[in-house]
Amino acid sequence: MLIFDLFKMAIRSLIANTMRTFLTALGMIIGVASVISMISIGEGARQQTLSTIAKFGTNIITIKPGKKKTRHVSSDNVNTLVLEDAEAINTHIPLITGVAAQVYRSAQIKYGNKNTNTTVRGTGIKYLEIANFTLYQGRYFSSQEVRSIRRVAILGSTVVKNLFGDITPIGKEIKIDGSNYLIIGSTIPKGALSWFDPDDQIFIPVTTAQKRLFGVNNIQSIDIQAEKIEDLEIIKERVESLLRIRHGIRKTEESDFHVQNSSQWLNSWGDAAKTFTYLLGGIAGISLLVGGIGIMNIMLVSITERTKEIGIRIAIGAKKSEIMQQFLIESVLISFIGGGIGIMIGIVISRTVSKIGGWDTIVSSQSIMIAFGFSVGVGIFFGYYPARKAANLNPIDALRYE
Protein backbone atom coordinates (compact mmCIF):
# COMPACT_ATOMS: atom_id res chain seq x y z
CA MET A 1 0.00 0.00 0.00
CA LEU A 2 1.22 3.48 -0.76
CA ILE A 3 2.15 5.72 2.15
CA PHE A 4 -0.44 8.21 0.96
CA ASP A 5 -3.23 5.65 1.36
CA LEU A 6 -1.91 4.68 4.77
CA PHE A 7 -2.08 8.33 5.83
CA LYS A 8 -5.61 8.61 4.51
CA MET A 9 -6.63 5.57 6.49
CA ALA A 10 -4.94 6.79 9.65
CA ILE A 11 -6.60 10.21 9.40
CA ARG A 12 -9.96 8.59 8.81
CA SER A 13 -9.70 6.42 11.88
CA LEU A 14 -8.56 9.40 13.97
CA ILE A 15 -11.56 11.40 12.77
CA ALA A 16 -13.89 8.49 13.50
CA ASN A 17 -12.87 8.80 17.16
CA THR A 18 -12.56 12.58 17.39
CA MET A 19 -13.05 12.83 21.14
CA ARG A 20 -10.60 10.07 21.90
CA THR A 21 -8.05 11.49 19.49
CA PHE A 22 -8.38 14.90 21.10
CA LEU A 23 -8.00 13.59 24.63
CA THR A 24 -4.96 11.57 23.63
CA ALA A 25 -3.45 14.55 21.86
CA LEU A 26 -4.20 16.66 24.95
CA GLY A 27 -1.43 14.84 26.80
CA MET A 28 1.00 15.88 24.09
CA ILE A 29 -0.45 19.39 23.91
CA ILE A 30 0.10 19.96 27.63
CA GLY A 31 3.56 18.39 27.49
CA VAL A 32 4.80 20.41 24.54
CA ALA A 33 3.14 23.65 25.70
CA SER A 34 4.76 23.37 29.10
CA VAL A 35 8.17 22.58 27.64
CA ILE A 36 7.97 25.58 25.30
CA SER A 37 6.67 28.03 27.89
CA MET A 38 8.96 26.85 30.69
CA ILE A 39 12.07 27.06 28.52
CA SER A 40 11.05 30.46 27.20
CA ILE A 41 10.40 31.78 30.71
CA GLY A 42 13.69 30.38 31.97
CA GLU A 43 15.58 31.71 28.98
CA GLY A 44 13.91 35.11 29.36
CA ALA A 45 14.87 35.20 33.03
CA ARG A 46 18.45 34.37 32.14
CA GLN A 47 18.73 37.05 29.49
CA GLN A 48 17.15 39.62 31.77
CA THR A 49 19.45 38.75 34.65
CA LEU A 50 22.48 38.96 32.41
CA SER A 51 21.53 42.28 30.88
CA THR A 52 20.74 43.77 34.28
CA ILE A 53 24.05 42.57 35.64
CA ALA A 54 25.74 44.00 32.59
CA LYS A 55 24.31 47.40 33.58
CA PHE A 56 26.70 47.40 36.51
CA GLY A 57 29.55 47.32 34.08
CA THR A 58 31.39 44.29 32.81
CA ASN A 59 34.98 45.51 32.76
CA ILE A 60 35.19 45.86 36.52
CA ILE A 61 37.52 44.32 39.07
CA THR A 62 36.29 44.31 42.62
CA ILE A 63 38.54 44.00 45.66
CA LYS A 64 37.08 42.97 48.94
CA PRO A 65 38.78 42.43 52.28
CA GLY A 66 39.00 39.00 53.84
CA LYS A 67 41.01 35.81 53.89
CA LYS A 68 41.22 33.76 50.75
CA LYS A 69 39.99 30.15 50.63
CA THR A 70 38.40 30.34 54.03
CA ARG A 71 34.97 30.57 52.43
CA HIS A 72 34.34 33.25 54.98
CA VAL A 73 31.97 35.86 53.66
CA SER A 74 33.70 39.20 54.03
CA SER A 75 32.13 41.13 56.82
CA ASP A 76 32.63 44.39 58.66
CA ASN A 77 35.13 43.04 61.12
CA VAL A 78 37.64 42.31 58.35
CA ASN A 79 39.33 45.67 58.11
CA THR A 80 42.26 45.05 55.81
CA LEU A 81 41.48 47.59 53.07
CA VAL A 82 42.02 51.30 53.55
CA LEU A 83 41.48 54.37 51.40
CA GLU A 84 45.22 54.62 50.74
CA ASP A 85 45.10 51.23 48.98
CA ALA A 86 42.66 52.70 46.47
CA GLU A 87 44.83 55.77 45.98
CA ALA A 88 47.88 53.59 45.43
CA ILE A 89 46.08 51.55 42.79
CA ASN A 90 44.96 54.72 41.07
CA THR A 91 48.52 56.02 40.95
CA HIS A 92 50.51 52.89 40.18
CA ILE A 93 48.35 50.58 38.04
CA PRO A 94 48.23 51.29 34.29
CA LEU A 95 45.41 50.48 31.83
CA ILE A 96 42.67 51.60 34.19
CA THR A 97 40.14 54.39 33.79
CA GLY A 98 39.10 54.78 37.38
CA VAL A 99 39.08 53.52 40.93
CA ALA A 100 36.25 53.83 43.42
CA ALA A 101 36.68 52.95 47.07
CA GLN A 102 33.45 52.31 48.92
CA VAL A 103 31.96 52.09 52.38
CA TYR A 104 28.27 51.40 52.67
CA ARG A 105 25.69 50.77 55.29
CA SER A 106 22.00 51.18 55.56
CA ALA A 107 20.86 54.27 57.35
CA GLN A 108 17.74 56.23 58.22
CA ILE A 109 17.11 59.18 55.89
CA LYS A 110 14.68 61.94 56.75
CA TYR A 111 13.22 64.77 54.75
CA GLY A 112 10.57 66.78 56.54
CA ASN A 113 8.14 64.27 57.99
CA LYS A 114 9.03 61.54 55.50
CA ASN A 115 11.69 59.00 56.19
CA THR A 116 13.11 55.94 54.51
CA ASN A 117 15.71 53.29 55.16
CA THR A 118 18.27 53.05 52.39
CA THR A 119 21.85 52.21 51.57
CA VAL A 120 24.29 55.07 52.07
CA ARG A 121 27.34 54.55 49.90
CA GLY A 122 30.45 56.58 50.59
CA THR A 123 32.61 56.56 47.49
CA GLY A 124 34.96 58.45 45.21
CA ILE A 125 34.45 60.75 42.25
CA LYS A 126 34.69 57.97 39.65
CA TYR A 127 31.97 55.78 41.12
CA LEU A 128 29.04 56.88 38.95
CA GLU A 129 30.97 56.18 35.80
CA ILE A 130 32.29 52.82 36.98
CA ALA A 131 28.92 51.58 38.24
CA ASN A 132 27.19 52.76 35.07
CA PHE A 133 25.01 55.39 36.71
CA THR A 134 24.03 58.52 34.84
CA LEU A 135 23.22 61.86 36.43
CA TYR A 136 19.65 62.98 35.97
CA GLN A 137 19.75 66.37 37.69
CA GLY A 138 22.40 68.48 39.40
CA ARG A 139 26.03 67.43 39.67
CA TYR A 140 28.27 64.84 41.25
CA PHE A 141 30.66 65.75 44.09
CA SER A 142 34.14 66.90 43.21
CA SER A 143 37.52 65.73 44.51
CA GLN A 144 37.72 68.99 46.43
CA GLU A 145 34.50 68.08 48.27
CA VAL A 146 35.90 64.60 48.99
CA ARG A 147 39.09 66.03 50.41
CA SER A 148 37.26 68.54 52.58
CA ILE A 149 34.83 65.91 53.93
CA ARG A 150 31.70 67.82 52.85
CA ARG A 151 28.17 66.80 53.69
CA VAL A 152 26.76 66.51 50.17
CA ALA A 153 24.64 63.72 48.67
CA ILE A 154 23.45 62.36 45.33
CA LEU A 155 20.16 60.43 45.47
CA GLY A 156 19.13 57.34 43.57
CA SER A 157 15.77 57.57 41.81
CA THR A 158 13.95 55.27 44.23
CA VAL A 159 15.03 57.44 47.16
CA VAL A 160 13.89 60.57 45.32
CA LYS A 161 10.50 58.96 44.70
CA ASN A 162 10.13 57.87 48.32
CA LEU A 163 11.12 61.18 49.91
CA PHE A 164 10.23 63.84 47.39
CA GLY A 165 7.67 62.43 44.99
CA ASP A 166 7.57 64.79 42.05
CA ILE A 167 9.43 67.68 43.69
CA THR A 168 12.95 68.44 42.51
CA PRO A 169 15.30 67.49 45.37
CA ILE A 170 18.31 69.56 44.27
CA GLY A 171 19.30 72.16 46.88
CA LYS A 172 17.14 70.59 49.61
CA GLU A 173 18.61 69.21 52.79
CA ILE A 174 18.03 65.72 54.17
CA LYS A 175 18.99 64.24 57.52
CA ILE A 176 21.14 61.12 57.55
CA ASP A 177 21.32 59.69 61.08
CA GLY A 178 20.46 63.11 62.40
CA SER A 179 22.89 65.38 60.55
CA ASN A 180 22.07 67.53 57.54
CA TYR A 181 23.31 66.78 54.02
CA LEU A 182 22.86 68.98 50.97
CA ILE A 183 21.42 67.28 47.90
CA ILE A 184 23.45 68.22 44.85
CA GLY A 185 22.29 65.62 42.31
CA SER A 186 20.10 62.65 41.40
CA THR A 187 20.56 59.70 39.05
CA ILE A 188 18.57 58.13 36.22
CA PRO A 189 16.94 54.83 37.24
CA LYS A 190 18.82 51.67 36.23
CA GLY A 191 15.98 49.28 36.98
CA ALA A 192 15.64 46.88 39.85
CA LEU A 193 16.77 43.29 40.01
CA SER A 194 14.45 41.03 41.90
CA TRP A 195 16.74 40.87 44.92
CA PHE A 196 18.33 44.29 44.74
CA ASP A 197 17.33 47.77 43.69
CA PRO A 198 20.44 49.76 42.65
CA ASP A 199 18.38 52.96 42.62
CA ASP A 200 17.54 52.62 46.29
CA GLN A 201 20.75 54.22 47.59
CA ILE A 202 22.42 57.56 48.06
CA PHE A 203 26.01 58.53 47.34
CA ILE A 204 28.18 60.68 49.56
CA PRO A 205 31.96 61.35 49.58
CA VAL A 206 33.86 58.37 50.97
CA THR A 207 35.70 60.55 53.50
CA THR A 208 32.44 61.96 54.83
CA ALA A 209 31.03 58.47 55.21
CA GLN A 210 34.13 57.23 57.05
CA LYS A 211 34.74 60.09 59.39
CA ARG A 212 31.41 61.81 59.93
CA LEU A 213 28.81 59.10 59.44
CA PHE A 214 30.13 55.59 60.16
CA GLY A 215 33.23 56.40 62.18
CA VAL A 216 35.51 53.88 60.49
CA ASN A 217 38.96 53.97 58.91
CA ASN A 218 38.72 50.97 56.58
CA ILE A 219 36.81 50.60 53.32
CA GLN A 220 34.58 47.73 52.27
CA SER A 221 35.42 47.41 48.61
CA ILE A 222 37.39 48.93 45.77
CA ASP A 223 36.01 48.87 42.22
CA ILE A 224 38.53 49.25 39.40
CA GLN A 225 37.44 49.90 35.86
CA ALA A 226 39.65 48.67 33.02
CA GLU A 227 39.95 50.48 29.71
CA LYS A 228 39.54 47.21 27.83
CA ILE A 229 37.96 43.99 28.94
CA GLU A 230 41.00 42.06 27.64
CA ASP A 231 43.24 43.81 30.19
CA LEU A 232 41.25 42.56 33.18
CA GLU A 233 43.56 39.64 33.90
CA ILE A 234 46.78 41.69 33.77
CA ILE A 235 45.30 44.40 35.94
CA LYS A 236 44.06 41.81 38.39
CA GLU A 237 47.57 40.34 38.74
CA ARG A 238 49.19 43.74 39.20
CA VAL A 239 46.66 44.87 41.75
CA GLU A 240 47.21 41.68 43.66
CA SER A 241 50.97 42.06 43.82
CA LEU A 242 50.72 45.77 44.67
CA LEU A 243 48.35 45.15 47.57
CA ARG A 244 50.43 42.21 48.85
CA ILE A 245 53.45 44.49 49.05
CA ARG A 246 51.45 47.27 50.70
CA HIS A 247 49.96 44.85 53.24
CA GLY A 248 53.34 43.25 53.88
CA ILE A 249 52.27 39.71 53.00
CA ARG A 250 55.03 37.13 52.61
CA LYS A 251 55.16 34.80 49.62
CA THR A 252 53.94 31.76 51.53
CA GLU A 253 51.03 33.60 53.06
CA GLU A 254 47.62 34.06 51.55
CA SER A 255 46.28 37.47 50.65
CA ASP A 256 44.04 39.27 53.11
CA PHE A 257 41.72 40.41 50.28
CA HIS A 258 39.79 39.00 47.32
CA VAL A 259 40.12 40.22 43.79
CA GLN A 260 37.12 39.38 41.66
CA ASN A 261 36.57 39.89 37.98
CA SER A 262 33.02 40.97 37.11
CA SER A 263 32.85 38.85 33.97
CA GLN A 264 33.42 35.78 36.14
CA TRP A 265 30.49 36.83 38.20
CA LEU A 266 28.42 37.33 35.07
CA ASN A 267 29.33 33.87 33.81
CA SER A 268 28.50 32.13 37.03
CA TRP A 269 25.16 33.91 37.12
CA GLY A 270 24.49 32.92 33.53
CA ASP A 271 25.32 29.32 34.32
CA ALA A 272 23.02 29.31 37.32
CA ALA A 273 20.19 30.69 35.22
CA LYS A 274 20.85 28.09 32.52
CA THR A 275 20.60 25.31 35.09
CA PHE A 276 17.32 26.81 36.15
CA THR A 277 16.07 26.70 32.54
CA TYR A 278 17.11 23.06 32.17
CA LEU A 279 15.36 22.25 35.40
CA LEU A 280 12.12 23.84 34.23
CA GLY A 281 12.41 22.16 30.86
CA GLY A 282 13.11 18.83 32.49
CA ILE A 283 10.06 19.04 34.73
CA ALA A 284 7.94 19.94 31.70
CA GLY A 285 9.54 17.05 29.82
CA ILE A 286 8.03 14.65 32.34
CA SER A 287 4.56 15.70 31.21
CA LEU A 288 5.66 14.95 27.66
CA LEU A 289 6.56 11.46 28.80
CA VAL A 290 3.18 11.06 30.50
CA GLY A 291 1.52 12.21 27.26
CA GLY A 292 3.45 9.54 25.38
CA ILE A 293 2.27 6.84 27.76
CA GLY A 294 -1.27 8.10 27.14
CA ILE A 295 -0.74 7.57 23.42
CA MET A 296 0.52 4.04 23.99
CA ASN A 297 -2.46 3.29 26.21
CA ILE A 298 -4.98 4.50 23.66
CA MET A 299 -3.23 2.73 20.78
CA LEU A 300 -3.38 -0.54 22.71
CA VAL A 301 -7.11 -0.05 23.33
CA SER A 302 -7.63 0.88 19.71
CA ILE A 303 -5.83 -2.22 18.49
CA THR A 304 -7.87 -4.50 20.72
CA GLU A 305 -11.04 -2.85 19.44
CA ARG A 306 -9.93 -3.24 15.85
CA THR A 307 -8.62 -6.79 16.12
CA LYS A 308 -11.14 -7.98 13.56
CA GLU A 309 -10.26 -5.18 11.15
CA ILE A 310 -6.61 -6.19 11.39
CA GLY A 311 -7.57 -9.82 10.66
CA ILE A 312 -9.51 -8.73 7.59
CA ARG A 313 -6.61 -6.64 6.33
CA ILE A 314 -4.16 -9.52 6.74
CA ALA A 315 -6.58 -11.89 4.98
CA ILE A 316 -6.87 -9.65 1.94
CA GLY A 317 -3.12 -9.30 1.64
CA ALA A 318 -1.78 -6.64 4.00
CA LYS A 319 1.86 -7.21 4.87
CA LYS A 320 3.00 -7.09 8.49
CA SER A 321 4.95 -3.95 7.73
CA GLU A 322 1.85 -2.29 6.30
CA ILE A 323 -0.23 -3.06 9.39
CA MET A 324 2.57 -1.72 11.52
CA GLN A 325 2.94 1.45 9.47
CA GLN A 326 -0.78 2.12 9.67
CA PHE A 327 -0.78 2.18 13.46
CA LEU A 328 2.56 3.94 13.73
CA ILE A 329 1.26 6.69 11.47
CA GLU A 330 -1.77 7.04 13.71
CA SER A 331 0.30 7.48 16.84
CA VAL A 332 2.76 9.82 15.16
CA LEU A 333 -0.12 11.87 13.76
CA ILE A 334 -1.64 12.23 17.23
CA SER A 335 1.65 13.40 18.68
CA PHE A 336 2.31 15.60 15.64
CA ILE A 337 -1.06 17.33 16.00
CA GLY A 338 -0.59 17.53 19.76
CA GLY A 339 2.90 18.94 19.26
CA GLY A 340 1.67 21.56 16.79
CA ILE A 341 -1.16 22.76 19.01
CA GLY A 342 1.15 22.55 22.03
CA ILE A 343 3.67 24.86 20.41
CA MET A 344 1.01 27.44 19.66
CA ILE A 345 -0.36 27.27 23.20
CA GLY A 346 3.18 27.37 24.60
CA ILE A 347 3.86 30.58 22.66
CA VAL A 348 0.59 32.08 23.85
CA ILE A 349 1.44 31.17 27.46
CA SER A 350 4.89 32.71 27.30
CA ARG A 351 3.51 35.87 25.65
CA THR A 352 0.87 36.11 28.36
CA VAL A 353 3.48 35.64 31.07
CA SER A 354 5.63 38.39 29.65
CA LYS A 355 2.63 40.70 29.34
CA ILE A 356 1.16 40.09 32.79
CA GLY A 357 4.40 39.46 34.67
CA GLY A 358 6.36 42.13 32.82
CA TRP A 359 8.93 39.42 32.37
CA ASP A 360 10.59 39.01 29.01
CA THR A 361 10.22 35.49 27.60
CA ILE A 362 12.18 34.16 24.69
CA VAL A 363 10.63 31.45 22.49
CA SER A 364 13.65 30.22 20.59
CA SER A 365 13.27 28.29 17.36
CA GLN A 366 15.59 25.81 18.99
CA SER A 367 13.15 25.07 21.80
CA ILE A 368 10.32 24.72 19.27
CA MET A 369 12.32 22.25 17.25
CA ILE A 370 13.33 20.29 20.32
CA ALA A 371 9.77 20.10 21.61
CA PHE A 372 8.40 19.14 18.21
CA GLY A 373 11.09 16.58 17.56
CA PHE A 374 10.48 15.15 20.99
CA SER A 375 6.75 14.86 20.44
CA VAL A 376 7.19 13.02 17.14
CA GLY A 377 9.84 10.85 18.77
CA VAL A 378 7.45 10.09 21.63
CA GLY A 379 4.80 9.15 19.05
CA ILE A 380 7.14 6.70 17.36
CA PHE A 381 8.54 5.34 20.60
CA PHE A 382 5.22 4.78 22.32
CA GLY A 383 3.44 3.81 19.11
CA TYR A 384 5.98 1.14 18.22
CA TYR A 385 4.97 -1.49 20.74
CA PRO A 386 1.21 -1.33 20.02
CA ALA A 387 1.86 -1.27 16.26
CA ARG A 388 4.09 -4.31 16.47
CA LYS A 389 1.46 -6.06 18.55
CA ALA A 390 -1.09 -5.35 15.81
CA ALA A 391 1.22 -6.58 13.06
CA ASN A 392 1.93 -9.83 14.89
CA LEU A 393 -1.71 -10.75 15.45
CA ASN A 394 -2.66 -14.22 14.30
CA PRO A 395 -5.10 -13.58 11.42
CA ILE A 396 -7.31 -16.58 12.22
CA ASP A 397 -7.80 -15.53 15.84
CA ALA A 398 -8.21 -11.94 14.78
CA LEU A 399 -10.94 -12.80 12.27
CA ARG A 400 -12.81 -14.79 14.90
CA TYR A 401 -12.56 -11.94 17.47
CA GLU A 402 -15.91 -10.38 18.31
Binding site: M1, L2, D5, R12, S13, A16, K308, E309, G311, I312, R313, I314, A315, I316, G317, A318, K319, K320, S321, E322, P395, I396, L399
Partner: protein
Protein backbone atom coordinates in the same frame (compact mmCIF):
# COMPACT_ATOMS: atom_id res chain seq x y z
CA UNK B 1 -3.64 -25.75 -9.14
CA UNK B 2 -3.94 -26.99 -5.52
CA UNK B 3 -2.14 -30.09 -4.36
CA UNK B 4 -1.78 -31.14 -0.74
CA UNK B 5 0.11 -34.16 0.50
CA UNK B 6 -0.61 -35.60 3.95
CA UNK B 7 -1.43 -32.12 5.19
CA UNK B 8 -1.95 -32.14 8.97
CA UNK B 9 -2.60 -29.52 11.60
CA UNK B 10 -2.19 -30.06 15.32
CA UNK B 11 -3.06 -27.42 17.91
CA UNK B 12 -1.62 -27.48 21.36
CA UNK B 13 -3.97 -26.61 24.17
CA UNK B 14 -1.76 -26.75 27.20
CA UNK B 15 -0.50 -30.32 27.42
CA UNK B 16 -3.17 -31.73 25.14
CA UNK B 17 -2.61 -31.94 21.39
CA UNK B 18 -5.70 -31.51 19.29
CA UNK B 19 -5.48 -33.00 15.81
CA UNK B 20 -7.66 -30.66 13.80
CA UNK B 21 -6.71 -32.16 10.45
CA UNK B 22 -4.96 -35.43 9.69
CA UNK B 23 -3.22 -36.47 6.47
CA UNK B 24 -5.37 -34.58 4.01
CA UNK B 25 -4.23 -35.18 0.46
CA UNK B 26 -6.32 -33.50 -2.18
CA UNK B 27 -5.80 -32.28 -5.68
CA UNK B 28 -7.97 -29.52 -7.09
CA UNK B 29 -7.61 -28.50 -10.72
CA UNK B 30 -8.03 -25.00 -12.05
CA UNK B 31 -11.65 -24.14 -12.76
CA UNK B 32 -13.14 -26.64 -10.31
CA UNK B 33 -16.08 -25.86 -8.03
CA UNK B 34 -15.64 -27.81 -4.81
CA UNK B 35 -17.84 -27.94 -1.74
CA UNK B 36 -16.28 -29.03 1.54
CA UNK B 37 -18.84 -30.48 3.92
CA UNK B 38 -18.78 -31.91 7.39
CA UNK B 39 -20.03 -31.37 10.92
CA UNK B 40 -18.46 -28.67 13.03
CA UNK B 41 -15.06 -29.68 14.32
CA UNK B 42 -14.45 -31.88 11.30
CA UNK B 43 -11.50 -29.77 10.17
CA UNK B 44 -13.05 -27.96 7.22
CA UNK B 45 -12.27 -24.45 8.50
CA UNK B 46 -8.72 -25.58 9.28
CA UNK B 47 -8.40 -26.79 5.71
CA UNK B 48 -9.68 -23.45 4.40
CA UNK B 49 -7.21 -21.51 6.58
CA UNK B 50 -4.34 -23.64 5.32
CA UNK B 51 -5.42 -23.38 1.69
CA UNK B 52 -5.78 -19.61 2.15
CA UNK B 53 -2.23 -19.30 3.53
CA UNK B 54 -3.57 -17.81 6.77
CA UNK B 55 -2.08 -20.70 8.72
CA UNK B 56 0.90 -23.01 8.40
CA UNK B 57 0.49 -26.81 8.46
CA UNK B 58 2.10 -28.88 11.20
CA UNK B 59 3.23 -31.44 8.67
CA UNK B 60 2.70 -32.36 5.03
CA UNK B 61 3.08 -30.18 1.98
CA UNK B 62 0.90 -27.72 0.11
CA UNK B 63 1.60 -26.68 -3.44
CA UNK B 64 -0.33 -23.76 -4.83
CA UNK B 65 0.16 -23.22 -8.56
CA UNK B 66 3.34 -25.35 -8.35
CA UNK B 67 4.81 -23.23 -5.54
CA UNK B 68 5.62 -24.94 -2.28
CA UNK B 69 4.02 -22.69 0.32
CA UNK B 70 6.71 -23.68 2.82
CA UNK B 71 9.31 -21.83 0.78
CA UNK B 72 7.48 -18.50 0.84
CA UNK B 73 8.23 -15.81 3.42
CA UNK B 74 5.66 -13.69 5.25
CA UNK B 75 5.61 -10.97 2.63
CA UNK B 76 5.26 -13.43 -0.23
CA UNK B 77 2.38 -15.14 1.58
CA UNK B 78 0.72 -11.75 1.98
CA UNK B 79 1.10 -11.25 -1.74
CA UNK B 80 -0.41 -14.67 -2.46
CA UNK B 81 -3.42 -13.80 -0.27
CA UNK B 82 -3.67 -10.48 -2.04
CA UNK B 83 -3.30 -11.54 -5.68
CA UNK B 84 -4.01 -15.28 -5.98
CA UNK B 85 -6.71 -15.92 -3.38
CA UNK B 86 -10.01 -14.23 -2.59
CA UNK B 87 -11.75 -14.76 0.73
CA UNK B 88 -15.49 -14.72 1.41
CA UNK B 89 -16.59 -15.17 5.02
CA UNK B 90 -19.80 -16.20 6.71
CA UNK B 91 -20.09 -12.91 8.58
CA UNK B 92 -18.97 -10.81 5.57
CA UNK B 93 -16.05 -9.18 7.42
CA UNK B 94 -16.33 -5.76 5.80
CA UNK B 95 -14.71 -2.70 7.34
CA UNK B 96 -17.64 -0.92 9.01
CA UNK B 97 -16.38 2.65 8.54
CA UNK B 98 -15.56 2.28 4.86
CA UNK B 99 -18.04 2.48 1.98
CA UNK B 100 -18.74 -0.52 -0.24
CA UNK B 101 -16.44 0.90 -2.88
CA UNK B 102 -13.65 1.51 -0.40
CA UNK B 103 -13.99 -2.01 0.96
CA UNK B 104 -13.65 -3.44 -2.54
CA UNK B 105 -10.76 -1.10 -3.28
CA UNK B 106 -8.71 -2.23 -0.30
CA UNK B 107 -7.03 -5.33 -1.86
CA UNK B 108 -6.07 -3.16 -4.84
CA UNK B 109 -4.46 -0.62 -2.52
CA UNK B 110 -2.48 -3.32 -0.74
CA UNK B 111 -1.51 -4.71 -4.16
CA UNK B 112 -0.50 -1.21 -5.37
CA UNK B 113 -2.75 -1.56 -8.41
CA UNK B 114 -3.40 1.60 -10.39
CA UNK B 115 -6.89 2.85 -11.26
CA UNK B 116 -8.14 1.15 -8.15
CA UNK B 117 -11.43 3.07 -8.01
CA UNK B 118 -12.43 2.11 -11.55
CA UNK B 119 -11.49 -1.53 -11.04
CA UNK B 120 -13.35 -1.64 -7.72
CA UNK B 121 -16.45 -0.16 -9.34
CA UNK B 122 -16.24 -2.80 -12.08
CA UNK B 123 -16.10 -5.56 -9.47
CA UNK B 124 -19.16 -4.09 -7.78
CA UNK B 125 -20.91 -4.01 -11.16
CA UNK B 126 -20.03 -7.64 -11.60
CA UNK B 127 -22.03 -8.54 -8.47
CA UNK B 128 -24.81 -6.10 -9.43
CA UNK B 129 -24.13 -3.54 -6.69
CA UNK B 130 -22.65 -0.55 -8.55
CA UNK B 131 -25.55 1.65 -7.43
CA UNK B 132 -24.79 1.15 -3.76
CA UNK B 133 -21.07 1.79 -3.97
CA UNK B 134 -21.23 4.82 -1.65
CA UNK B 135 -23.14 3.01 1.08
CA UNK B 136 -21.55 1.77 4.23
CA UNK B 137 -22.00 -1.88 5.25
CA UNK B 138 -24.54 -1.01 7.97
CA UNK B 139 -26.73 0.58 5.30
CA UNK B 140 -26.79 -2.64 3.25
CA UNK B 141 -28.79 -5.86 3.65
CA UNK B 142 -27.08 -9.15 4.44
CA UNK B 143 -27.20 -10.32 0.82
CA UNK B 144 -25.80 -6.99 -0.39
CA UNK B 145 -23.00 -7.13 2.17
CA UNK B 146 -22.04 -10.60 1.00
CA UNK B 147 -22.03 -9.36 -2.58
CA UNK B 148 -19.68 -6.53 -1.58
CA UNK B 149 -17.49 -9.17 0.06
CA UNK B 150 -17.50 -11.24 -3.15
CA UNK B 151 -16.60 -8.15 -5.17
CA UNK B 152 -13.69 -7.58 -2.77
CA UNK B 153 -12.62 -11.22 -3.16
CA UNK B 154 -12.57 -11.08 -6.97
CA UNK B 155 -11.31 -7.53 -7.51
CA UNK B 156 -7.68 -8.64 -7.90
CA UNK B 157 -8.80 -11.41 -10.32
CA UNK B 158 -7.57 -14.26 -8.12
CA UNK B 159 -7.31 -17.82 -9.40
CA UNK B 160 -9.07 -19.19 -6.33
CA UNK B 161 -11.98 -17.96 -4.25
CA UNK B 162 -12.29 -19.51 -0.81
CA UNK B 163 -15.74 -19.14 0.71
CA UNK B 164 -16.32 -20.19 4.33
CA UNK B 165 -20.09 -20.76 4.75
CA UNK B 166 -20.93 -17.72 2.63
CA UNK B 167 -24.69 -18.33 2.96
CA UNK B 168 -24.64 -19.24 6.65
CA UNK B 169 -26.08 -15.90 7.76
CA UNK B 170 -28.52 -15.52 4.86
CA UNK B 171 -32.02 -16.78 4.14
CA UNK B 172 -32.51 -19.44 1.51
CA UNK B 173 -33.43 -17.24 -1.45
CA UNK B 174 -30.67 -14.71 -0.77
CA UNK B 175 -28.31 -17.64 -0.28
CA UNK B 176 -29.29 -18.99 -3.68
CA UNK B 177 -28.64 -15.58 -5.28
CA UNK B 178 -25.16 -15.58 -3.75
CA UNK B 179 -24.57 -19.14 -4.95
CA UNK B 180 -25.57 -18.23 -8.49
CA UNK B 181 -22.90 -15.50 -8.43
CA UNK B 182 -20.34 -18.15 -7.44
CA UNK B 183 -21.62 -20.42 -10.23
CA UNK B 184 -21.24 -17.69 -12.81
CA UNK B 185 -17.74 -16.81 -11.53
CA UNK B 186 -16.85 -20.48 -11.81
CA UNK B 187 -18.18 -20.65 -15.35
CA UNK B 188 -15.72 -17.83 -16.19
CA UNK B 189 -12.85 -19.98 -14.95
CA UNK B 190 -12.37 -19.07 -11.30
CA UNK B 191 -11.67 -22.00 -9.01
CA UNK B 192 -14.11 -21.96 -6.11
CA UNK B 193 -13.78 -23.84 -2.86
CA UNK B 194 -16.75 -23.50 -0.57
CA UNK B 195 -17.35 -24.71 2.98
CA UNK B 196 -20.96 -25.45 3.88
CA UNK B 197 -23.01 -27.85 5.88
CA UNK B 198 -26.14 -27.50 3.76
CA UNK B 199 -26.65 -30.17 1.11
CA UNK B 200 -28.65 -27.74 -1.02
CA UNK B 201 -25.77 -25.27 -1.11
CA UNK B 202 -23.21 -28.01 -1.76
CA UNK B 203 -25.27 -29.14 -4.74
CA UNK B 204 -24.19 -25.99 -6.62
CA UNK B 205 -20.68 -27.42 -6.69
CA UNK B 206 -19.50 -30.11 -9.06
CA UNK B 207 -17.44 -31.96 -6.50
CA UNK B 208 -18.07 -32.56 -2.83
CA UNK B 209 -15.41 -33.38 -0.26
CA UNK B 210 -16.79 -34.61 3.04
CA UNK B 211 -14.73 -34.43 6.20
CA UNK B 212 -15.12 -36.03 9.60
CA UNK B 213 -12.81 -35.85 12.63
CA UNK B 214 -10.05 -34.25 10.57
CA UNK B 215 -10.08 -36.86 7.79
CA UNK B 216 -11.49 -36.76 4.31
CA UNK B 217 -13.92 -39.60 4.22
CA UNK B 218 -15.75 -38.98 0.96
CA UNK B 219 -14.69 -37.22 -2.25
CA UNK B 220 -17.15 -37.51 -5.10
CA UNK B 221 -18.28 -35.78 -8.26
CA UNK B 222 -21.85 -34.45 -8.02
CA UNK B 223 -24.17 -36.09 -10.49
CA UNK B 224 -26.84 -33.46 -10.19
CA UNK B 225 -25.76 -29.83 -10.15
CA UNK B 226 -28.14 -27.11 -9.04
CA UNK B 227 -28.43 -24.19 -11.37
Amino acid sequence: MIKTNNLSKTYRLGKVSVHAMIDVSICIQGGEFVAVMGPSGSGKSTLMNLLGCLDQPSSGSYHLENFDIKNLNQNQLAEVRNKRIGFVFQNFNLLPRASALENVELPLLYGRVKNSQILALKALERVGLAKRSKHRPNELSGGERQRVAIARAIVNKPAIVLADEPTGNLDTSTGNEIMSIFSSLNSEGTTIILVTHERAIASFARRTIEMKDGYIYKDKINSEIAV
